[in-house]
């Protein structure tokens, strides 16, 4: 029987191939949607896994997570530097690290942070060592540079009209092992270097900064006027400070030496535009040792990543830092709400996929019913020569079922490949590794599809079964 079916399929290979293709594409669509959505969930959850608690200035939780964990460039309101000081000293905190964004090199974001964050979120170095001096940098695993390379930070990104910081350069001293997070694409430098490049947190500015801390929201307008006169970066500023009452206040770039930049998309670890007036040329001292105790002079920060000691501590800290000017967020809870939106999108796409599968199924029924009609004589002859009805049923059923099953199989592979390619593209862009894989749920989908195919194939098979051989031969 199998031989007969195979001979038959060989003869009708073109039609069979089209059936397989149709089924495969319809299946692949559904499978790709499912796999991609799942890998997005898993990948983003894993990326956020290492970061227990993020503290930022009051504002959008989603934006805070996207910027600090997924390193998506966006202006963030700044949280006062004293928050970091307080967190670092908190006994419930195992470590708290500032992150400062804003610069990039060759398309890789340069993130200012601390050794404790690197130690706490990575599995170690694949080569080289941790930065120890202000002018040293550590590469994420996905950064295509080698140890020893020199990095000239560019403010913003090339696409958004950034410019290179004059006189500032880092030397790469180490490369981290992959973590599967967007941080793999980051160039990590000491936070103090970022501050210094942008003329923040310098010793000579500290007193003034501290002094101004209480009132710098008032002084902002004046600063702008000054800057406008100087023609340096007036339009680059949204709001040059973190306003305690208005979380929407944003700070853009401050240190724009000489050149005029149209728009800085990044938030910076800047507290006050006052610094710009004091000094325009930021530079780092490459040989200065890094200091990771953050005193009262710590500039404002876009985000602080906190590792609480226990889960209970995490909840307490989140609660504490959710009032007033700060916002404590568990990345997981933000992701959950994002997943809800993702789920809606997936539902729409799944419905589209299911619709296309339904259409293909209907088309297949049509085609096979016509096909069986055309082969009435052959089927009648099979019966006449003594093939039992059950054999005739099985032949027609198996033939179609084989085609559809093959289509479903290929569809799963195609869907998997598509999701894989999609994930890889996503990984290349964001650094988030999206694990594409099948689960039990997919097995269920496959079984449902195959069961459906079985039912579908039964329609023409039943037609063939019910045909009277005498009538069929007469036709």
């Amino acid at each position: 029987m199998i031989r007969f079916i195979l001979a038959d399929l060989r003869r009708l290979w073109l039609g069979g191939a089209v059936v397989i293709l149709l089924v495969a594409l319809a299946t692949a669509l559904g499978v790709a949607v499912t796999l991609q959505e799942r890998s997005l969930r898993l990948g983003s959850a894993r990326a956020a896994d290492k970061f227990d608690l993020v503290v930022g200035a009051a504002g959008s939780e989603t934006q805070l997570i996207l910027s600090s964990i997924f390193l998506q460039p966006a202006p963030l309101p700044l949280v006062d530097g004293s928050v970091l000081t307080k967190l670092a000293a908190d006994p419930r905190v195992s470590w708290a690290a500032p992150v400062g964004f804003g610069d990039s090199f060759s398309g890789y974001p340069i993130i200012g942070t601390t050794t404790s964050l690197i130690k706490g979120t990575t599995t170690g170095f694949s080569e080289g060592k941790m930065f120890a001096l202000e002018g040293e940098a550590v590469l994420g695993a996905a950064v295509d540079l080698s140890v020893g390379a020199e990095i000239k930070p560019m403010h913003g990104t090339a696409e958004t009209g950034g410019h290179t910081h004059a006189g500032a350069a880092y030397k790469v001293v180490g490369k981290l092992q992959p973590t599967g997070t967007p941080w793999d694409r980051a160039i990590l430098v000491p936070i103090q270097a970022v501050w210094h490049v942008h003329n923040l947190g310098h010793e000579h500015g500290q007193d003034e900064h501290g002094h101004e801390a209480g009132e710098h929201h008032d002084g902002d307008g004046h600063s702008h006027d000054h800057e406008n006169e100087e023609g340096h970066e007036g339009d680059a500023h949204a709001e040059g400070e973190a306003n305690h009452q208005e979380p929407a206040a944003q700070s853009a770039s401050h240190a724009a030496p000489e050149q005029h930049a149209p728009k800085y998309p990044f938030a910076l670890g800047a507290a006050s535009s006052k610094h710009v007036e004091e000094e325009h040329h930021g530079s780092i001292d490459p040989d200065a040792p890094i200091i990771e105790t953050f005193g009262s002079s710590t500039p404002g920060l876009p985000a602080i990543l906190v590792k609480p000691k226990t889960i209970a501590d995490a909840y307490r800290l989140r609660q504490e830092y959710r009032s007033g000017s700060t916002l404590g967020v568990f990345p997981g809870e933000v992701l959950t709400s994002l997943y809800a939106a993702l789920g809606d999108a997936k539902m729409v796409l799944s419905a589209v996929a299911a619709g296309s599968q339904g259409l293909v199924a209907a088309a297949l029924v049509l085609v096979t019913v016509i096909h069986v009609g055309q082969r009435r004589r052959q089927i009648g002859a099979l019966r006449a020569f003594g093939a039992p009805r059950t054999s005739v049923f099985l032949i027609v059923w198996l033939e179609l079922f084989l085609l559809v099953a093959l289509g479903v199989g290929i569809g799963f592979l195609l869907g998997f490949a598509a999701a894989h390619v999609g994930s890889q593209m996503f990984t290349a862009k964001s650094g988030v590794i999206l694990p594409v894989g099948f689960t039990r749920e997919d097995l269920r989908l496959a079984l449902i599809l195959l069961g459906f195919a079985g039912g579908l194939a039964a329609v023409p098979a039943l037609l063939a079964y019910r045909q009277s051989p005498a009538q069929a031969l007469r036709a």
Partner: protein, 229 residues
């Protein structure tokens, strides 16, 4: 080998007042060679279908030996036919894409009765019908060769009855004669009852009994030689 006895058979089709076939009594002796003749619409094909067990019998009885086909369900009729009737048809009904040998074995395989003996018999029959290459694809054969394959297929399970429906109608004169020879020789060898529906006078003449049908009734039943060709 099997004798045929038909009693009070009437075949009607819905919408038609007169029965397409009405045979009160007909007996065919075991091992005899009978020709069925008659124009189109005479009920010839219907009679073939009835005695081959392809059509359900609503009125009357058709006995092959002890077996009354009228009592069998459709599935049982299929089974009985597979075991007892060798069918040869005008259009061969060989299945493309399969070799000649596979075609001979196909019905037996689909009935799950093909064993080694039957495969051996298929090879033997292949030679009996005068063919050489069992692995040849049937599509590449001439029509005469195809009908030989069909005859070998009909004989595979040593049927008690060989029923041929216009076996030579789609063949040229020469092939037709050869196929006629083959059918007669094989039926004589095996002792099978042979029933041939045909327009082919050359073939009909060689059969020992001829039944003439018209409008669903047997209007002539003569031994060979009594009807002028």
């Amino acid at each position: 080998m099997l004798p045929l006895k038909i009693e009070n058979l009437a075949v009607t089709f819905p919408g038609l007042a007169a029965p397409v076939l009405a045979i009160d009594h007909l007996e065919i002796a075991a091992g005899s060679h009978v020709a069925l003749t008659g124009g189109s619409g005479s009920g010839k094909s219907t009679l073939i279908n009835i005695i081959a067990g392809l059509e359900r019998i609503r009125t009357g009885n058709v006995f092959w030996g002890e077996q009354n086909l009228a009592e069998l369900s459709e599935g049982r009729r299929d089974q009985w036919r597979a075991a007892n009737v060798g069918l040869v048809m005008q259009d061969f009904h060989l299945f493309p894409g399969l070799s000649a040998l596979d075609n001979i074995l196909l019905p037996a395989r689909l009935s799950r009765v093909a064993n080694n003996d039957l495969v051996k018999r298929a090879h033997m029959l292949f030679e009996t019908v005068g063919l050489k290459r069992p692995e040849q694809n049937v599509e590449t054969m001439s029509r005469g060769e195809m009908q030989r394959v069909a005859i070998a297929r009909a004989l595979l399970r040593k049927p008690g009855v060989i029923i041929a429906d216009e076996p030579t109608a789609s063949l040229d004169l020469e092939s037709g004669d050869a196929v006629g020879d083959l059918l007669l020789a094989i039926a004589a060898d095996s002792g099978s009852t042979l029933i041939v529906a045909s327009h082919d006078l050359r073939l009909v003449e060689r059969l020992e009994r001829r039944l003439l049908l018209k409008s669903g009734r047997i209007i002539g039943d003569v031994p060979a030689g009594e009807i002028a060709a």
